[in-house]
């Protein structure tokens, strides 16, 4: 069970910082930082820069994302923003607009 769950129907406007897994099913506008994983569910809409250990996107993210490990953009997921991560996957059916920096 994730430590933090932003449920569907919930909206947060502001800064969220954490040291545990964060699952977003709702809306977030502002900034999201965690030292653990972030999972953006299919119903989620995020307008924020996201920084995490790893990041899985099945919903919509507008903002720059940084992951210490990896970013996985899943089918149906939509990311508008720059990615900074050493590993990135973009599934068939995902949309992406932005730059990728794999720190090479």
């Amino acid at each position: 069970m994730a430590g933090t769950v932003i449920g569907e129907g919930l909206s947060i406007e502001g800064d969220v910082s954490s040291e545990e897994e964060v699952v977003v099913q709702g809306n977030l506008r502002g900034k999201l930082t965690t030292t653990d994983a972030v999972s953006v569910g299919s119903s989620a809409v995020i307008e924020a820069d996201v920084s995490a250990q790893s990041l899985t996107i099945a919903g919509q993210v507008t903002g720059d994302v940084t992951a210490a490990e990896r970013v996985d953009l899943q089918a149906g997921g939509r990311l508008i923003g720059d990615v900074k991560a050493s590993r990135l996957t973009i599934a068939d059916g995902a949309s992406f607009k932005g730059n990728v920096d794999m720190d090479v």
């Binding site: 449920g7 947060i12 502001g14 800064d15 954490s18 999972s39």
Partner: protein, 119 residues
């Protein structure tokens, strides 16, 4: 992938939020929140959690600390160990021994304090 209830939100113990939270469903705060909360479901401020801001919810249970006002349609429960400062307004309010409160309470009852009857 794990299924999570679409009904409930949890802000875990290491999670700090500065900002405003609003929406549908229940919320349980285990970490720290600076800002106002307004949800359609029940709200809970867990032991060790702190909220600095106002809370609007269906009901409210406080075991942590609340600095701010709370307005609920249903009951408000202040548990032992809780620290609360602010105005509490709900259908009924309970305060357990062992809590520390500096609050104004309003359960919106009509007190029958009419002029004393004269014989």
């Amino acid at each position: 992938m794990m299924r999570h209830s679409s009904e409930g939100s949890v802000l875990g113990p290491s999670t700090r939020i500065t900002g405003r939270i609003s929406g549908e469903g229940a919320i349980r705060v285990e970490g720290g929140l600076k800002g106002d909360v307004s949800v359609s479901g029940p709200a809970e401020i867990a032991e060790g959690a702190s909220v600095e801001g106002s809370v609007h919810a269906e009901s409210l249970e406080i075991a942590g600390s609340l600095l701010g006002d709370a307005v609920t349609r249903g009951p408000i429960a202040v548990r032992a160990g809780a620290v609360v400062r602010g105005d509490l307004r709900g259908s009924e309010i309970s305060i357990e021994p062992g809590s520390r409160v500096s609050v104004r309470l309003d359960t919106q009852v009509e007190l029958d304090l009419g002029a004393p009857r004269r014989r």
